[in-house]
C-alpha cells in the first residue's frame, strides 16, 4: 500500500490533496461558462503530423465548431518534451518520455452536454486531433470517451469571465442586434410617427430571434 502523501500548510499537516479553506466555489464554472483543461501524452514523432493537421484545420473541421456555437474560446497547445519553460537557476530541466497536448476550452452548458455534443457531432474532428494521444479510445462510443476525458482533465483553480450571464450565442445575437439597432436608428430618425411604426414592426421582425433575457445559468452535471 502506498504511504499517504502529506503536506504542511500554515503549520498543520494535511492529507494530499486537501480541501483548501475558503474554496467553496466551483472554480471550473463561472456563470454560463465552464473552463476545461485536459492534458494528453503523445509520442514525439507524432507531433509534426498533428501540427500539420492543426495547420489545415481551418479548411476542415472549423465550420462544425462554429455551427455548434457553444464555445467562446478554445485552444490546443502542443508542448514538446524539451520545450517546457526553463528559467535556469535551481529549476530542473524536464526529462520526459512524451510530448504533451493541452486543451483549454471555455464552453457553455454542462460537462456531460459538452462531451455528448462533441462525441455526437464532432467525432471525426476529435478523432483527428486526439488519435495521436496515448490510449485515446475514440470519440465514439461516448462511455469510453468520457472515461478518458475524466482521466486527463485537471481542475481550474481560478476562473474569470467578464460576462457570466451570456452564452456565446447571446454574444453573437447581441452584436447582430447592436448592428441592426444602429442601422434602424439612423434610417428611422426623420420618419413620421406612422412610417416609424411600420418600420419598427419590420425591425422587430428582423431581430426577434435574437431578443431574449440574459438569465442565470441552468444547473446540471
Amino acid at each position: 500500500m502506498m504511504p499517504a502523501i502529506r503536506c504542511l500548510l500554515d503549520g498543520v499537516w494535511h492529507a494530499y490533496p486537501i480541501c483548501i479553506p475558503g474554496g467553496d466555489s466551483v472554480t471550473n464554472i463561472n456563470g454560463k461558462a465552464y473552463a476545461m483543461n485536459a492534458i494528453t501524452p503523445m509520442k514525439w514523432w507524432k507531433t509534426p503530423i498533428l501540427k500539420l493537421i492543426f495547420l489545415l484545420a481551418p479548411l476542415t473541421g472549423l465550420a462544425d465548431l462554429k455551427n455548434l456555437s457553444f464555445i467562446h474560446f478554445a485552444r490546443w497547445v502542443i508542448i514538446k518534451r524539451g520545450q517546457f519553460p526553463w528559467l535556469g537557476g535551481k529549476q530542473p530541466r524536464e526529462n520526459l518520455e512524451y510530448d504533451y497536448m493541452i486543451f483549454f476550452s471555455n464552453f457553455n452548458g454542462t460537462w456531460n452536454q459538452y462531451i455528448d455534443a462533441f462525441s455526437a457531432v464532432l467525432s471525426d474532428g476529435l478523432n483527428l486531433f486526439w488519435r495521436w494521444s496515448e490510449k485515446f479510445p475514440g470519440a465514439v462510443p461516448v462511455t469510453a470517451f468520457k472515461r478518458y476525458i475524466a482521466l486527463v482533465q485537471f481542475d481550474t483553480d481560478y476562473y474569470y469571465n467578464p460576462y457570466p450571464y451570456a452564452t456565446t450565442n447571446d454574444v453573437k445575437a447581441a452584436h447582430r442586434i447592436q448592428a441592426a439597432l444602429d442601422d434602424f436608428a439612423k434610417t428611422s430618425a426623420a420618419m413620421s410617427a406612422q412610417d416609424f411604426e411600420k418600420a419598427y414592426r419590420q425591425f422587430v421582425i428582423r431581430v426577434q430571434n435574437d431578443l431574449g433575457a440574459l438569465g442565470p445559468a441552468p444547473e446540471g452535471t
Binding site: P41, H72, R75, P85, Y159, P162, V171, A174
Partner: protein, 199 residues
C-alpha cells in the same frame, strides 16, 4: 500566427513553481490557497485589465498517466498555468497588466521561479514571454469585437428585449417617443462592469 484569431490573442503561460523543501508551506499549496480566496466578478483583478475576455489560473502538479502500456512520466517542476483571451497586442497587454494590477500579480507569481515583480512593467513582460508557450490552434467564436464592444452589445440586447416587451400595442407617436428615450438611455448608460453577474 497561431496565438491569434482575428483581433483576439490567446496567451498561454506556464510558470514553473518554486520547489523549496525548506519552507513550511509548499508553494503550490500556498498558491492554491491564495487563488481560492482571490476576488472574482466585478472585483476580480482581471476585470481591471482592459481588454481581458476570459482568464484562468491552474496549478498543474504533474502530467497524467493514461495507463499501461504507456510509460510513466513525471514533471520536474510544478507549473502555474495562466491563459487569457484578450484584445490586441501581447506587449501592450502585458504592460497594461503590470500597470493595472501589480500587487495582485505579485501575490500570485511570487510563488514562481525567477519572477521579477510587476513594478517594472518591462521586466514583467520579459518574464511572461519567457514562460509563454505557443498556441498550436486557437479558436475564438467571435473574433472581431473587443470586450467592451461585447459588454455594450449585451446591454443593448437586454434593453431592447425589455423595450419590445413593454411597448407592444402602443400608439405610433408614443412608440416613437419611447424609442427615442431608449436610444438616449442606451447612449448615456455606461456598459455593464466586466465580471458583473447581470446586465
Amino acid at each position: 500566427m497561431a496565438n491569434q484569431s482575428g483581433q483576439l490573442y490567446g496567451l498561454t503561460i506556464l510558470s514553473p513553481i518554486i520547489n523549496n523543501g525548506s519552507r513550511s508551506a509548499s508553494q503550490d499549496l500556498a498558491l492554491r490557497k491564495h487563488l481560492s480566496s482571490l476576488a472574482n466578478g466585478v472585483h476580480s483583478p482581471f476585470a481591471r485589465v482592459a481588454g481581458t475576455h476570459f482568464a484562468r489560473l491552474v496549478v498543474m502538479n504533474d502530467v497524467v498517466f493514461v495507463g499501461n502500456p504507456s510509460k510513466i512520466d513525471h514533471l520536474g517542476s510544478q507549473y502555474l498555468i495562466f491563459t487569457t483571451d484578450f484584445d490586441g497586442d501581447l506587449d501592450a497587454y502585458l504592460r497594461t497588466m503590470a500597470q493595472s494590477i501589480p500587487a495582485e500579480l505579485d501575490q500570485i507569481w511570487k510563488h514562481c521561479v525567477g519572477y521579477p515583480g510587476a513594478a517594472d512593467a518591462g521586466k514583467f513582460a520579459d518574464y511572461m514571454k519567457k514562460c509563454q508557450v505557443e498556441t498550436t490552434f486557437y479558436f475564438a467564436d467571435v473574433n472581431d469585437k473587443t470586450r467592451d464592444q461585447t459588454l455594450k452589445a449585451l446591454q443593448v440586447k437586454a434593453e431592447l428585449s425589455a423595450f419590445v416587451e413593454e411597448n407592444q400595442g402602443r400608439p405610433a407617436a408614443e412608440l416613437q417617443r419611447a424609442f427615442q428615450g431608449l436610444l438616449t438611455k442606451i447612449n448615456s448608460t455606461p456598459p455593464p462592469a466586466p465580471g458583473a453577474s447581470r446586465v
